[in-house]
């Protein structure tokens, strides 16, 4: 690999730090949902996928079963697999290196990699690895900080954490809601999940909205 491009390194670092900070919210949310500090840190070290992590603690914290929590988290993790499809031909790694590459294949590493396209293949690879490792380090550090803070904090509602978590999710999905089509899907998904909530067990109303994505995505749109 050639010399690290400065613009790529700067972007990787700023994305890593910003997203890493958000680990504080996860750490606190996980503790609030009843998970231990060790379990919280293991989720960030091993699962290492923000949306899936929030889903498992969100579903189980709301009284859902482990199975419905795992199912929701796994549905949210599918897109990492699709990123892998896109990154594999670029990285061309095998064996243990492929294991590491897979673990750090997330929204941010893929996003930065694709953003370096004008700078060439080396810059794309560097962007992927720098952002992947950068987010990993900051995300895990701030998860621990959030988990420790939450235990000292007491009732999460008194600090607004009960609203900060859905707000954090909203902020995560917001950049994807640029078009009217996506906004209609999002609004329909919110309605469906809320209507189903008193009827079927926790976690399932959210999984059910994947069917909406299938319906919306089936037709070719302009």
């Amino acid at each position: 690999m050639s010399k690290v491009n400065r613009a790529t390194a700067t972007q990787s670092l700023s994305v890593s730090f910003t997203v890493g900070l958000y680990g504080t919210a996860f750490g606190a949310a996980s503790i609030a949902a009843g998970f231990s500090i060790l379990q919280t840190c293991l989720l960030s070290l091993l699962t290492f996928s923000g949306a899936s992590q929030f889903a498992i603690v969100g579903v189980m914290g709301a009284g859902g079963s482990a199975i419905s929590g795992i199912a929701t988290a796994s549905l949210l993790g599918i897109r990492n697999g699709l990123y892998g499809l896109r990154m594999a031909p670029l990285l061309k790694v095998r064996g243990f290196k492929r294991v590491i590459a897979a673990q750090v294949t997330i929204d941010e590493s893929t996003g930065v990699a694709i953003g370096q396209e004008d700078l060439g293949l080396d810059a794309m690879k560097q962007g992927f690895w720098l952002t992947g490792f950068g987010v990993y380090i900051f995300w895990n550090f701030f998860t621990l900080l959030g988990a420790l803070g939450a235990q000292a904090m007491g009732n999460p509602s008194a600090w607004g954490l009960d609203a900060a978590v859905p707000a954090a999710f909203l902020g995560l999905v917001w950049p994807r809601l640029l078009g009217k089509f996506e906004r209609t899907l999002a609004a329909t998904a919110v309605l469906l999940a809320i209507i189903l909530s008193p009827i079927i067990s926790a976690g399932l109303p959210i999984i059910a909205t994947a069917l909406l994505a299938v319906v919306f995505g089936w037709k070719v749109r302009s």
């Binding site: 998970f35 996928s49 889903a55 189980m60 859905p166």
Partner: protein, 101 residues
């Protein structure tokens, strides 16, 4: 093994397998535009649903409380293009203030 541990380890195992699978499937098998389109939409639907459920339900019941006000403020902040941390903090402050009144 209790339920929380099952959740932690099960989620982690499947999360990794999904990531690894993507790196291992030959590209030629998945270049189906419909599948790609649906998979782009799935996270949008799931994350939006999660926001809704976390905002106005509690243990399978509809509950309107300080959370809705907090998330509404976050929505306003987002439409004003506020930075990410401002969105989260403004929701937290709104909700906390209403909770304590």
């Amino acid at each position: 093994m209790n339920a929380l541990w099952l959740g932690v380890l099960g989620t982690s195992l499947i999360a990794f397998l999904l990531k690894y699978l993507g790196h291992s499937i030959p590209e030629k098998y998945v270049n189906n535009p419909r599948a790609l389109r649906i998979n782009t939409l799935i996270p949008i639907a799931l994350l939006s649903a999660l926001v809704g459920v976390q905002t106005i339900t509690e243990k399978g019941k509809w509950v309107i409380d300080q959370r809705l006000a907090g998330v509404a403020v976050a929505l306003v902040a987002l439409s004003l293009k506020a930075p990410y941390f401002v969105v989260v903090i403004s929701a937290a402050i709104t909700s906390a203030v209403i909770y304590r009144i």
